[in-house]
Amino acid sequence: MPEAGTEIIRLDGAEKHFGAANIDIIRLDGAEKHFGAVRALAGVDFHVGAGECVGLVGHNGAGKSTLMHMVAGTLMPDSGRIAVRGHVEDNYSVPRAQQLGIRCVFQELSLCPNLSVAENTRINHTTLRGFGWRRKAADLIAAKLDEIFPGHSISASDIASDLSIGRRQMIEVARAFTVTQDPLELVILDEPTSSLDAHTAGQLLAFVRRFVAGGKSCILISHVLGEVLGNADRIVVMRDGNVVASDAAKAFDRDRLVTTMGGAEAREKIAAKIATQKPETGPLRVRARPARQEDGNELVAHAGEIIGLAGLAGHGQTDLLLAIFAAAARTKTGIEVTAPVALVAGDRQSDGIFPQWSIAQNIGIRSLKRLRNRLLISPQREAELATFWQRKIGIRTPDMNNNIFSLSGGNQQKALFARALGSDAEIVLMDDPMRGVDIGTKLEVYDLLREEAGRGRTFLWYTTETEELDNCHNVYVFKNGRIVANLTRDELTEEKIIQSSFGDAA
């Protein structure tokens, strides 16, 4: 492997094309990166060939994002070198990467919320200027959206902040594939489907396959292993800042991937476990009818149940969760709530986290009554609560008094779960909380949910990942703000959900 570096030919000028097919679009040799004392990358060799879709998997903190930031030019390695199409790039940067046709769709949404869709497109294209640039930008993005997501219903003049998180993600993906002056060779998709429903995710992955078939390249990072297995040509597995495996996708199956990634064991048969655990019907906790429901369908949850909310993204699941949350404080017609409620937000940056606060404070905020000592908050009780949940849920940090942003995304989400589970809430509402969380964390949290449900807590769980519904006792499928199907554990299949999501509203 190290010999590969010596083969790189340093050339200046416009030389090209010698056995172009064999030359990698990008190659990193011995890339190393430290952030303070933390070693994010330990001398990684990584390459992507032309016409190849490379799947990149690993737990949060394995170094995937750092590696991709290097490929995109937003981070420079401390040591090691980067070569694009055989040229060593000494001053690699974002503009250079763009010139060379390398783009990245970052995991955190990076649209300007105050700008329109067309204006957001302009930001990525320096050549969209001069007379008529608005028209050109609008046509460019509209054409690409039509190509990737037929029937998307997004207008180029929409302001980004008016759109749902799923639509914003669609725009970002489409924007990365738009071409003006610079060529397009390689697109990095970091969790591109995390906010998309199954239908649009399918459209995107189909497009990626067409894109790769056209001789271009793609790096696909996803925590949904099925997506990677089904769409990548080659899979690279990372762990603790190293590449631990790199092999044709056919050589992997789900179990081997999970084992290679390390950490949690593969557990397929959650379903069976749930079925045997099906609780006695406890007291009624929630009875709710969506505002736009016309027939008699309603959501009913008893103590100890995990209820799933499924369907295409943005079809009223979140609205109903928020309505239930509001109904707990103030009586609302059509919704009956009989116990305290806590909400685990899905968009954790805007709805979940208090950015200036420590981890312990972020966990304690839902339980202030209990932490109070007369008029003041007892730091001791706050610390106790935090330490208890740090141990129970496994938040990886040396000190719970550190700022919440010192945690990785998955651990931030765990802190939000700790906030809800550490409170007195008997009903926990979850608004697609596992977005962008790695599988190890997910499995840990699933276990915890089942345990808590066993103790009589009720969970209402909206998720865009069909796999997660396996954890639920009962699944309600939403369409256009209405409940269109109520599936029990045994009836639950992906086809059935998709069928109900698209079928006629009852």
């Binding site: 300007c112 700008l115 204006e119 200027r129 001069g130 219903s153």
Partner: protein, 326 residues
């Protein structure tokens, strides 16, 4: 199956239609408040609604509008300028002294002060300083310099400036034409040009912009330099109207400018600003500030307090409408 996306599309577009209507309503709010103030004036004193009346009432609106636009550029980049008022005063003092007596020196001083503004932008970005602190400090610097130049009220505006500000076009009063011109120029520059998008984007999502390869230093410097430029124009316009200067002449402009931006539909963070709204906001404030209150026979002692009350009422109405958007 093919009908399905169309149907979901319909739902999405009605949802977005609602949002667009709410935004339109918010966009119309500044104009609405201006109309309300005008109606009140017309009711209290019908004779004020005339060519001469408007020329008189809106006289001071031009410098206020220019200062508001200056503040808007700073707010577009998620910063706040607490020095714009004393800066306008400083420019006024330079205009009434150097610019008349030694035009070249005067021009150099004014250009230099724009450069200082640009450097402040660079400093705020590079050292990651809170702009409120930096500009609050600068407000004392400008005030001190103004007092050095003009220890007691006096000086005289250059003749060309006097004649420009005394310009009387047919039919439409000069302040209205000037306001339309300012609004149109800034709207085009900031809302329609391709670099204006980048400037606004730096307030919306700075990280995204730098990832796309844009220099945030450059955008910040640009926004502050534009603020400086419009501050200079504001100070000059002010002296062209008042004919002589005073070191404290612009002190009230800091808050008027901030209020004008917010009244005009802008927001403190997120790069959400509207040049046309800001100019309308400035006009509203200029009218509400003194003509309206005088017509209401409110004694001058109470006018400042009444002014503040009007501000609170109008901004509260804006918040109510913004909430409906959610």
């Amino acid at each position: 199956m093919t009908a399905v996306p169309a149907e979901t599309g319909l739902k999405a577009s009605s949802e977005r239609g609602r949002l667009a209507r709410a935004r339109l309503l918010r966009g119309l709010l500044p104009a609405l408040s201006l109309v309300l103030v005008l109606l009140a004036i017309a009711w209290l004193n019908p004779r004020a609604i005339s060519y001469f009346g408007f020329s008189l009432m809106l006289n001071l609106a031009i410098p206020i509008a220019l200062a508001t636009i200056a503040q808007m550029f700073v707010i577009a980049g998620n910063e706040l300028d607490l020095s714009i008022g004393t800066f306008v005063g400083f420019v006024g003092c330079v205009t009434a002294t150097w610019l008349k007596d030694a035009p070249l020196v005067g021009v150099l001083i004014l250009l230099g002060s724009i450069c200082v503004y640009a450097l402040l932008g660079a400093l705020i970005y590079l050292r990651n300083l809170p702009s409120i602190v930096v500009t609050l400090g600068m407000s004392f610097v400008w005030q001190g310099l103004a007092i050095l130049i003009l220890p007691k009220p006096g000086g005289k505006a250059p003749d060309w400036l006097l004649s420009l500000m005394a310009f009387k076009p047919p039919f439409i009063p000069f302040p209205i034409i000037a306001a339309l011109l300012i609004a149109a120029v800034v709207h085009f520059g900031l809302m329609r040009t391709s670099y204006g998008v980048i400037l606004r984007g730096s307030g919306g999502n700075a990280a995204a912009l730098s990832r796309a390869g844009w220099s945030l230093l450059k955008t910040k410097v640009m926004l502050f330099a534009l603020a400086g430029l419009f501050g200079v124009l504001s100070g000059m316009a002010l002296i062209g109207i008042t004919t002589s200067a005073d070191a404290n002449i612009g002190n009230g402009y800091t808050l008027l400018a901030i209020a004008g931006v917010i009244l005009g539909g802008g927001e403190f963070v997120g790069g959400r600003i509207s040049p046309i709204g800001a100019v309308i906001g400035a006009l509203t404030l200029a009218l509400a500030a003194s003509p309206l209150l005088t017509f209401m026979h409110i004694p001058p002692d109470w006018q400042v307090a009444a002014n503040g009350a009007i501000l609170i009422i109008v901004l509260a109405a804006r918040v109510l409408i913004s909430r409906r958007e959610r």
